[in-house]
C-alpha cells in the first residue's frame, strides 16, 4: 500500500512541476474550448432557434 501511495505522490508532484505538461493537459484544452465556443457558439444557438 505504501508503495502505491509513494508512486502516486511522486507522479503528482512531478506532473505539477512540469510546466509543459500542465500547459498541454490543462491550459491548452481550455483555450481550445474557449476558442471553439467563441467561433461556433452562436451558430449552434441559431440552429436550435431555427429548428
Amino acid at each position: 500500500m505504501n508503495s502505491i501511495i509513494g508512486i502516486a505522490v511522486k507522479d503528482i508532484k512531478t506532473f505539477f512541476r512540469e510546466r509543459g505538461t500542465i500547459f498541454w493537459t490543462i491550459a491548452f484544452p481550455v483555450m481550445i474550448l474557449l476558442l471553439f465556443t467563441a467561433i461556433f457558439g452562436r451558430e449552434i444557438l441559431s440552429t436550435q432557434t431555427w429548428e
Binding site: N2, S3, G6, I7, V9, K10, K13, T14, R17
Partner: protein, 309 residues
C-alpha cells in the same frame, strides 16, 4: 559467505556473456569485478540483483537463492547503477521518500536513514534542492544514498565513478570505504585498475565472461604482475651508453626511459645508480615502479584494460 556464485552461465544469443563464473564474497569486504567493457561485469551484477535471468549455475545472496527467493534477495541489496535514477523535478529528500515508500519504511526509520545519508554520504547540504539543480558528483552521492535508503546489508555498485574528475572520484572512494565501516558488504564493478587497487579488499579480474584471476590486489600484483621495475631517465645522447653499462640487467627502453626489472629493486637501484654515476652519466630521474593491476590483466589476457574501455 554473503554472496556465493557457482558456475553461473548467461548467453545473449550466441554470445556467452557470463561463462561459468564462480566466486564468493565475504561479509564486510569490498569486492571488485575488474575488466574491460564487454567482460560481463554488468550482466553478472544484474543477475545478482535479479534484474536478469541466468541460464545455468547457482547463486545465493545473503543466504537466499536467486532463482527461488528473488524478492528477499532484492530486499537485502541496494543496487546503484551507472546512470543516475533520480527524478529531476523532485528534491533529494522527496526522491529518498519515494525510494523508502517502495520498501515500506516507516517515518521513524526513514528519518534515521536520511540522517545516516547526511552524515556518511554528505547529502545533508542539498537535501531540499531539486535534483536538476545538482552537480554530477552530488547526483551520484544522492543516487547512492537513495539506493541504500532501506539499509541493505549488501551494496552493489556498477562502475560508480565512471566519468568523474579525479577529485570527486577520490571523494567517492572514501564514501565507499566508509560504507564498510557500517558493516556493509560492497560488490562493485569497474574498469579502472586504480580504483580496484585503491578500495577493494579482493578483486576478480574478468575477461570475455570468465574470471581469470581472483585475489587481493597486492597478491595479484606480486604473483602475476611480475617484478618491480626501475625507471631511469638520462639525457637522450647518453641513453645508448647507459644501456651498454647496464647490459648485465634485464633492460627495456620505453618512451626514452630505461626500465630495469628486478626482484630486489632497492638494492638494484643503488647498484645501477652507482654504476651510471661512476661512468659519468647523470640520471634525470630514477624511481621504482611496482606492477599494476593493468600489468596483471595484460599478462592474463594479452591486451590492455583500456583498449576496449
Amino acid at each position: 559467505m554473503i554472496i556465493e556464485v557457482e558456475d553461473l552461465v548467461k548467453h545473449y544469443g550466441e554470445v556467452k556473456a557470463v561463462d561459468g563464473v564462480s566466486f564468493v564474497v565475504k561479509e564486510g569486504e569490498i569486492f571488485g569485478l575488474l575488466g574491460p567493457n564487454g567482460a560481463g561485469k554488468t550482466t553478472l551484477m544484474e543477475i545478482l540483483c535479479c534484474l536478469r535471468r541466468f541460464d545455468s549455475g547457482k547463486a545465493t545472496v545473503y543466504g537466499f537463492d536467486l532463482a527461488k527467493d528473488s524478492l528477499k534477495v532484492r530486499a537485502s541489496i541496494g543496487f546503484c547503477p551507472q546512470e543516475t535514477l533520480l527524478y529531476d523535478l523532485l528534491s533529494v529528500r522527496e526522491n529518498f521518500a519515494f525510494s523508502a515508500s517502495l520498501y515500506s519504511l516507516d517515518s521513524k526509520k526513514f528519518n534515521e536513514r536520511v540522517e545516516f545519508s547526511s552524515k556518511v554520504l554528505g547529502v545533508g547540504e542539498f537535501l531540499n534542492r531539486r535534483v536538476q539543480q545538482l552537480s554530477g558528483g552530488m547526483k551520484r552521492r544522492a543516487n547512492l544514498a537513495a539506493s541504500i535508503i532501506h539499509d541493505p546489508p549488501i551494496v552493489i555498485l556498477d562502475e560508480p565513478t565512471v566519468g568523474f574528475d579525479p577529485n570527486i572520484k577520490r571523494e567517492f572512494w572514501e564514501l565507499i570505504k566508509n560504507l564498510k565501516h557500517y558493516s556493509k558488504t560492497v560488490l562493485l564493478s569497474t574498469h579502472d585498475m586504480y580504483e580496484a587497487d585503491e578500495i577493494c579488499d579482493r578483486v576478480a579480474i574478468m575477461n570475455e565472461g570468465k574470471i581469470v584471476a581472483l585475489d587481493k590486489p597486492y597478491a595479484l600484483k606480486k604473483t602475476i604482475g611480475g617484478d618491480d621495475a626501475i625507471h631511469i631517465r638520462v639525457k637522450d645522447s647518453q641513453t645508448k651508453k647507459a644501456i651498454t653499462i647496464l647490459k648485465e640487467y634485464k633492460t627495456t627502453v620505453i618512451d626514452s626511459e630505461i626500465q630495469v626489472s628486478a626482484k630486489n629493486p632497492w638494492e638494484v637501484m643503488a647498484e645501477v645508480s652507482n654504476k651510471l654515476v661512476s661512468q659519468g652519466i647523470l640520471t634525470e630521474k630514477i624511481e621504482i615502479v611496482e606492477p599494476t593491476l593493468e600489468d596483471v590483466f595484460i599478462k592474463l589476457a594479452g591486451r590492455k584494460l583500456a583498449e576496449e574501455s
